[in-house]
């Protein structure tokens, strides 16, 4: 199997925050009626992670399940585990109407780290980046500049951005510009 190329080859920039593209991950898109308890349980069993609440992500043993909509979650996991996870999901979801697709190559993931991360993101998204509204473990599918993206608050000063692969360059340039030195807002990060 040939090496898997990410959209940006692991690009990185430094400013108010560091922005870097993460190495290839496994991703599985799951669509199912998450309102039904039996379906929820089956998803959790197949994914190996509890199904998150609205606008949240759950992480267990290196796997993260992100809430995307009332009938969609995204499972993020180590690249090599994607095929077996697909099989496990198929087995667990047997009898439940669902769709599970390997989408490992569909998106780019940017990790943005630094104290100013909330201020930097608030330049680009209309979603509320206040710590109270967006604590670690939160996920928002929103707009960044002119593209759709999902934002996951991993830790206090760390965010992962998921965007479609084709616009990875735009997303990277956008984050780099928003994190450019001199542009500190000092709104959420009051020490700035």
């Amino acid at each position: 199997m040939s090496e898997i190329a990410t959209a940006l080859g692991g690009a990185r920039s430094d400013g108010l925050c560091t922005v870097c593209e993460v190495p290839p991950l496994g991703m599985i898109q799951i669509r199912a009626d998450l309102g039904a308890t039996a379906v929820r349980d089956a998803v959790a069993e197949g994914a190996g992670v509890a199904v998150p609440d609205v606008l949240r992500a759950t992480t267990e043993q290196g796997r993260t399940l992100c809430w995307f909509s009332p009938d969609e979650v995204l499972l993020i996991l180590p690249r090599g585990e994607a095929p077996s996870a697909l099989s496990a999901l198929a087995e667990a979801m047997e009898g439940h109407h669902h769709l599970a697709a390997d989408v490992s190559d569909m998106r780019a993931v940017l990790r943005v780290e630094g104290r100013a991360v909330r201020d930097v993101l608030a330049k680009l998204t209309p979603a509320d980046m206040a710590p109270g509204a967006f604590p670690p473990g939160s996920v928002r599918r929103t707009r960044l500049g002119q593209i759709a993206a999902a934002v996951r608050m991993v830790e206090d000063e760390t965010v992962e951005i998921l965007c479609f692969r084709s616009v990875a360059r735009y997303a990277f340039d956008l984050m780099t510009e928003a994190a450019r030195e001199g542009g500190a807002v000092g709104y959420f990060d009051r020490e700035a």
Partner: protein, 1003 residues
């Protein structure tokens, strides 16, 4: 002449001299100065020429409401016109030029317009330059545009950067004067999240200048303490230099922060546009002083009384040695007293009121100042500078009673609350007769989603002009916010101010009251747009009595200051001319922004490479490295063709086509939409979406399908593959992927929500490469891993497997008529597959081809293209695609519409091929003419070209077109006039020019 005094100026630092240039001259000011205070301090009272008459103008105000002192600030890529000098902080190296004059500010030929003023009344252009018609465009307008107008536009691309900032908060308080500080403090003490913004660069507003005492201390001390207390609270954010530009529905507010309004090496953005969603907004925006309408009130040296006080106290600048005060209220006496105390001469206080009894006038009297009751200014003397005033009885017709020599006039017609922000989103006003102004009506606030008011006014912005009233009003405003948000008040108690009592003002809308036409024609209402009392009266006289009509006829309030000074005065004049009361006339509409904001701040980061997202396929970098000439398809960039050195575009396209038809070509087809449809009802769902029957498709097979809108029009096409019993993969056009995905979701969510179908748009998970040409199979066999023989993978079949060790899904479909495989591979391995194909196929003549070769080859085969053969008015039946429309199905989207009489009309234009007699290429979009003319006298037409190319395969022009009863007329010759009128004759033929039996693709 204005001068800098030897002492005073609370905002300036005399130890820090800043050098700047004005109209090419080196000047100096102090740190803390504005451009206006620095110019005044340097004796420069003349700051510009007026818009229409080119009259000399000086600064009138001390804030962003300034109508006259507009400057071009900066140079080159940082030049910006129409900047208000009193709101432009001075910085080292600032470069400013005054505007609207030629050749220079001092000598301006346009000033001849002043002499012609009586011939240039309101509506003059409308009336005069309408004949002869063509003269307007070619003679009058160019001349008028050159002689009238404000700053010149910048000529270079903006060198600065800009950004947006989005937040939500409980309360935004707009205005950092004592009312805003009070409201912010009370809201914050109650535990609410508060953002306090102030357009100026310091806190406190007017109170420190006006000598207000709060809780027994000078206002400044209270301001400092309060700001320090607020800054220490975790739930409070403070921003100076940030102006609220507009208030919109649902508590949405735009605020404009001037972060680094000067060339700056720190990398800071110049402006930041805040997009705030607040639960409640408090406007503590203060009030603006009104000018008085007396003759020649626009001569440099005539200023608002409050502004004179500001320049004196804030910057240690005197507008003149001898300043006459003219007023209708007590507040202006503060200016007289301040000037007197600064050792400057105040020869007279001209007060229009017959009786003068307030505490401030009494203080002025005790200082020995002369007060002239019942008096007005008949006329200001002087041209480029005030030299004196002629006085008269206010109640009279302007007969001069006395002349006083002076070099400045401080005028006050009373104060109007800044109601703009309150009004932006529908807040209503009431007329306050006692204070002669419109103020917000608290019972008719702009309402939010909960039906309750979301804007509250505080302080002078409510009409509470005096400091004591302003503070109680601010406390009440905070209370209203707390109540609305169910919040309990904190411990802080509202502050109290001590100010002298003031006697009521007397409304004065014209000075003197019975001024004749000569004087009225010299009384400026709108300084920036050169609108006078006489113009508004003329508008009324000519029937433009509605306030909105009068505004447009005279341009009153339509300049960049949007009538901040002129509005109420103009309304009053209009009311008087109509014989109505002012509230019956009403106001014009207040619209955002409050003060103009930079275009850059609106664009934010969206410029240069970030102007818009460019979508790149996994092979983008390779294309770029191979001389791809790009074609934008939606936001994608696709290679149109790959140019080799020394090769023209047409040659490159022909080379790619001929090579594909004889050897093997590669196409990056990654942009095609790929939507998975899964579930027990998937077949039923696709039967409704496509015109053909998809539910009967066998697993492992592909079918070309058409999708129509509800109105029957063809909207997308593509190949559907059945992946398993309950799963299909639908290919869409490049531009259709997102649209069709949304279309599917919409039908599933809004109409067929009980159907068990899930969909997923997997477009970007795959790179897709078309391997096309007679040697395609040979090439793929060299990669190895799959049996791709005719029997193992027949035409219109698909198979999963590996090629060269890469996981692939191979579709045997053809859009070119050749043996063709489309290979989907996970995007991260797309480049690897592409590279393998190129290296393995080198001796086979493998060569990539672009979208133009794709287009030509599909046209040679008579395949339609969405967007070429369709334009939103074309149904599949027009294109001879009846074979792809199921007759067995009860329904599909568009079926009913396609049965309408107009859709089944045999006279519809229908798809045919077109072959020119000469072999030339038909022009794109050309129309075939018919005999006679239509009802409009135009030549009748009977068809049009939808696709036209040079076919290198056939070495001649080929085309497709929609022609009246086309397929019935094979062999007929049509005439297509070119743009130059010369005709091209083309024969109607079958649209399939190449391999009509389809043998080449099925080998």
């Amino acid at each position: 002449m204005s001068i800098r005094l030897n002492s005073g100026g609370r905002r300036i630092d005399r130890d820090r001299v800043l050098r700047y240039r004005f109209n090419g001259r080196d000047m100096a000011g102090f740190a803390g100065d504005t451009l206006a205070s620095a110019l005044l301090g340097a004796g420069q009272t003349l700051m510009g020429r007026s818009f229409k008459y080119h009259r000399p103008r000086g600064v009138v105000a001390s804030g962003p409401e300034e109508p006259n002192a507009l400057m071009g600030v900066g140079e080159g890529a940082r030049f910006e016109p129409n900047q208000r000098a009193p709101a432009t902080p001075l910085h080292e190296g600032l470069v400013a030029v005054s505007q609207n004059h030629w050749p220079s500010l001092e000598r301006d030929v346009g000033a001849v317009n002043t002499a012609l003023a009586r011939f240039l009344p309101a509506g003059f252009y409308y009336k005069t330059f309408t004949w002869p018609r063509a003269f307007w465009k070619h003679v009058y307008e160019p001349f008028i545009r050159r002689s009238a107008g404000l700053g010149r536009p910048p000529e270079e691309a903006d060198a600065d950067r800009y950004e947006h900032f989005n937040i939500r908060t409980d309360v935004v308080v707009i205005g950092g004067g004592i009312a805003g500080l009070t409201a912010a403090r009370l809201a914050a003490e109650a535990g609410l999240e508060v953002l306090l913004i102030e357009q100026d660069t310091i806190w406190g507003g007017r109170a420190p200048v006006d000598g207000v005492e709060i809780d027994g201390n000078p206002a400044q001390a209270w301001v400092d303490d309060t700001v320090a207390a607020l800054a220490a609270m975790p739930n409070v954010r403070l921003r100076l230099g940030t102006m609220a530009a507009g208030i919109y529905d649902h508590g949405y507010l735009l605020a404009y922060e001037r972060v680094a309004d000067r060339p700056d090496s720190s990398g800071a953005p110049r402006h930041r546009l805040w997009r705030v969603r607040a639960r409640r907004i408090v406007t503590a925006t203060g009030a603006i002083e009104r000018p008085l309408s007396f003759a020649c009130n626009d001569v440099p040296g005539v200023m608002l009384a409050g502004a004179v006080r500001d320049y004196l106290v804030d910057y240690g600048v005197s507008p003149g040695d001898r300043t006459v005060i003219v007023t209708n209220n007590d507040d202006a006496y503060r200016t007289a007293i301040a000037l007197h105390r600064a050792g400057l001469s105040v020869p007279a206080i001209v007060d229009a009121r017959p009786e003068i009894a307030g505490a401030l006038p009494e203080e002025a009297r005790q200082l020995g100042l002369t007060i002239l009751p019942g008096t007005g200014i008949a006329k200001v003397k002087g041209g480029r500078q005030v030299t004196g005033v002629a006085l008269c009885q206010q109640g009279g017709d302007g007969a001069v009673t006395q002349e006083i020599a002076c070099d400045a006039v401080a005028m006050s017609g009373g104060w109007s609350p800044v109601v703009h922000l309150w009004s932006h989103c529908g807040g209503k006003l009431i007329w306050d007769a006692e204070q002669a102004h419109f103020r917000p009506d608290p019972d008719r606030a702009p309402t939010g989603a909960d039906g309750r008011g979301f804007v509250v006014t505080a302080g002078a912005a409510s009409g509470a002009l005096r400091a004591d009233a302003a503070l109680s009003d601010a406390a009440a405003a905070a209370d209203r916010v707390l109540t609305a948000l169910d919040q309990t008040a904190g411990d802080a108690s509202p502050p109290r101010a001590d100010v002298p009592s003031e006697a009521p003002l007397a409304p004065v809308w014209m000075m003197p009251q019975r001024a004749g036409a000569d004087l009225r024609a010299k009384m400026w209402l709108d300084f920036q747009n050169d609108v006078k009392v006489s113009d508004v009266r003329l508008a009324a006289q000519e029937g433009f009595t509605s306030v909105e009509h009068a505004k447009r006829y005279t341009t009153l309030g339509m300049a960049t200051d949007q009538g901040k000074l002129s509005n109420i005065n103009g309304l009053a004049v209009l009311a008087d001319a109509r014989g109505d009361a002012i509230p019956q006339v009403g106001t014009t509409t207040f619209r955002p922004p409050y003060v103009p904001i930079s275009m850059g701040s609106i664009a934010g980061e969206a410029r240069g490479d970030l102007f818009q997202p460019i979508r790149r396929t996994p092979l983008h970098d390779w294309h770029e490295g191979q001389g791809a000439r790009w074609e934008p398809v939606g936001q994608w960039r696709r290679p149109y063709t790959y140019l080799r050195e020394g090769e023209g575009v047409k040659d490159a396209v022909n080379r790619e086509i001929l090579n594909t038809r004889s050897n093997v070509g590669l196409l990056d087809a990654s942009t095609l939409g790929k939507i998975v449809v899964k579930g027990p009802d998937a077949g039923r769902f696709l039967d409704m979406l496509y015109t053909n029957m998809m539910s009967t498709l066998k697993v492992g097979r592909c079918r070309y399908g058409l999708m129509c809108s509800e109105n029957g029009f063809l909207m997308d096409d593509g190949v559907v593959a059945r992946l398993s019993e309950d799963t299909f993969l639908c290919h869409t056009t490049t531009g259709g992927a997102d649209r069709i995905h949304a279309h599917m979701e919409e039908w599933l969510q809004t109409e067929w929500w009980t159907w068990k179908v899930w969909i997923a748009n997997l477009t970007e998970h795959y790179a897709q490469i078309a391997v096309v040409g007679p040697k395609a199979r040979t090439l793929l066999e060299r990669l190895g891993g799959m049996d791709l023989s005719r029997d193992a993978l027949p035409f219109m079949g698909w198979a999963d497997g590996t090629l060269g060790g890469l996981p692939v899904r191979v579709y045997r479909i053809s859009f070119s008529g050749e043996l063709s495989y489309e290979i989907a591979v996970p995007a991260g391995q797309g480049r690897a597959l592409w590279d393998r194909l190129l290296s393995e196929g080198a001796d086979l003549g493998v060569m990539p081809y672009g979208t133009e070769a794709l287009h030509v080859m599909r046209a040679e085969k008579g395949f339609i293209m969405i967007g070429d053969e369709t334009d939103g008015t074309v149904i599949p039946q027009d294109l001879g695609l009846d074979w792809a429309i199921s007759k067995k199905k009860d329904d599909y989207l568009g079926k009913r519409a396609q049965a309408r009489p107009h859709m089944t009309d045999p006279d519809r234009w229908t798809l045919v091929g077109l072959e020119t007699e000469s072999g030339a290429v038909l022009p794109e979009g050309a129309y075939a003419v018919a005999e006679g003319t239509n009802a409009n006298g135009q030549r009748r037409t009977q068809g049009r070209v939808t696709s036209t190319y040079y076919s290198p395969t056939l070495d001649r022009g080929i085309a497709m077109g929609l022609v009246w009863r086309g397929p019935e007329r094979l062999g007929e010759v049509l005439t297509f006039p070119k743009v130059d009128g010369t005709p091209v004759r083309a024969r109607i033929v079958s649209p399939v020019f190449y391999d009509p039996k389809g043998e080449k693709q099925d080998v």
